[in-house]
Amino acid sequence: MSLKKQLINEQGIRTDGRGIDDLRPIKITLGYLAHANGSVLYEQGKNKILAAVFGPSEVHPKHAELPDRAILRVRYRMAPFSTEERKSPAPTRREIELSMVIRNALESVVLTELFPRTAIDIFIEVLQADAGTRVAGVTAAALALADAGIPMKGITAGCAVGKVDGKIVCDLNDIEDKEGEADMPIVYIPTLGKISLLQMDGLMTQEEFKQALSKAINSAMKVYQLQVNALKTKYIKVER
C-alpha cells in the first residue's frame, strides 16, 4: 500500500511554508548580460532563468525571412545541471516543443510587422529548475524584450496554478507539480486582458477550472507589477 504525501496541512500551509495563494519570492535583475541587446536573470523561488535577446537582425538562412514581418526565434533549454539528476545537454522533445509554445505566447505581443525581413532571437536558459519554468521563461523573455527596446503591445506575465490535495494553489513548486492532481500554466497580458498561453495537465472540474483561471490571472497580475517595477527602477537607479 502506498501512502500519499500530505502537501498542504490543516492550517493551509504548503511544504515550503507558503499559503495556497502565495507566490514564491521573485527577484529580477535586468541587463544581466553585457553582450546581449536585452537580458534578465529571473529568479522565482529555486527557479533561476537567464533570458537574452538579440536583434532585430538580418535573417540567416535567407529563405527563412518573411516579407511582411520579423520572425521570432525562441530557444528554451535546460542546463545539464538544472535538475536533480544530470540532464543530457541534447535538446529534448519537451524543450523543442516549449520553445514553440513560448514563441507563440510572445508573438501575440511583439510588433513584428514593424521590422519585416528581420529576426529576433530569444534565448531562455534554465539554470536551475523547480517547476513552472515555461511560464517563468515567458515572463523573463518579455522583460528581456522590453530591455532590448523591442516594441510590444504589452508585457506578458506568467504563473502556474494547480490542484494539490483537492485545493487550487498558485505557483506550484517541484513536489506539488509532481505529486499534485493538476497543473495549469498560464501566460496573461494584463494591459490587453488577454491570455496568450494556457495549458493543462491533470483533471479539474469546471468549477475548479474557473477558480484556477481566476487565481492564475490574479497571480499573473502580481508578477506583472514586479516586472513593471523592475523595468522602471532600472532607469531610476542609475549605477555609478
Partner: protein, 232 residues
C-alpha cells in the same frame, strides 16, 4: 536624483483625441506605449522617447558604417541596424563603372569605415547609401565608439550645444552618426578617453535632470586631475 515618469510597453498614455507619435500605437480608444521610455506631448501628438532602441534607417541620415562584404558591383555595409546597407559600385567609380575593368576589392576591402548618407530605404529593400557628398567618404583616422541611437538627440543637445561643449572642452572633433556610431578625431589618447567617458555618462543618465551640469562637471574634473598630475 529626480527623473521624469517612465512608461513600459502596454501602459495606457491617454484615451483622448491625440495623434499617435513615435513608439506608441492606438488600441481600441487608447494610445499605449510600445517601448520603455518617457512620454512626451507636443501639440496633439503623443510620443514616447525610448530609453533603449536600435537604428532604423531614414533617408538623408548621416551614418558611419563598416564594409562587411565585397561584391563585384557593390559593397554591403554594416550600419549597426537590423538592415545591412548597400553601397553600389556606381556611386564610387562613377557612371563609367565597368565590372570587367574596375575592381571593387582593390577600392575598398571588408573592414573599411565609411561616413555615408542614406539615399533610399523603405523596409521592403535594403537601405542604399552614398559616399558622394561633402564630408562623406572613407574614414582614414580617428577613434570610433558607439552610443545607443535613442541617446543621439541628448548627445547633440539643443542646437548642438552639448556636442559643442564636449568638443571645446576636450579640443576634439566629433562626428555623430544617426546610427549611434561616433567618430572622435584627435591626436590625444587622454582626450579620446575623456570624450568616451562623457558619452557613456550621457548614455547612462540622459533621462535624468541636470545633464548639462553633470557633463561639464565630469569634463572639468578630469582637467583638474590632469593639472594636479602635472604639478606633482
Amino acid at each position: 536624483m529626480s527623473g521624469k515618469p517612465i512608461v513600459v510597453p502596454g501602459e495606457i498614455l491617454t484615451s483622448g483625441y491625440y495623434r499617435v507619435g513615435e513608439n506608441t500605437i492606438k488600441l481600441d480608444n487608447s494610445i499605449i506605449a510600445t517601448k520603455v521610455g518617457i512620454p512626451q506631448t507636443k501639440g496633439n501628438t503623443i510620443r514616447v522617447i525610448a530609453l533603449k532602441s536600435f537604428y532604423i534607417p531614414k533617408i538623408h541620415d548621416l551614418i558611419i558604417g563598416v564594409v562587411s562584404e565585397v561584391y563585384y558591383n557593390m559593397w554591403r555595409v554594416n550600419i549597426f541596424s537590423p538592415y545591412v546597407a548597400v553601397l553600389p559600385a556606381v556611386d564610387v567609380f562613377g557612371r563609367r563603372f565597368d565590372p570587367t575593368k574596375d575592381n571593387t576589392l582593390k577600392k575598398m576591402d571588408a573592414g573599411t569605415v565609411l561616413k555615408a548618407r542614406i539615399t533610399f530605404f523603405d523596409r521592403t529593400q535594403d537601405p542604399v547609401i552614398t559616399i558622394r557628398g561633402e564630408g562623406l567618404g572613407v574614414i582614414e583616422k580617428g577613434f570610433i565608439t558607439y552610443v545607443n541611437p535613442s541617446k543621439i538627440a541628448k548627445l547633440i543637445g539643443k542646437k548642438g550645444n552639448m556636442l559643442q561643449k564636449i568638443e571645446q572642452l576636450t579640443n576634439t572633433k566629433i562626428t555623430v552618426g544617426q546610427n549611434g556610431v561616433i567618430l572622435i578625431e584627435t591626436q590625444s589618447i587622454s582626450a579620446k578617453d575623456k570624450v568616451i567617458k562623457t558619452i557613456k555618462l550621457i548614455e547612462r543618465e540622459a533621462h535624468l535632470s541636470n545633464l548639462g551640469d553633470r557633463v561639464t562637471k565630469i569634463l572639468k574634473e578630469d582637467e583638474e586631475n590632469e593639472l594636479e598630475k602635472t604639478t606633482n
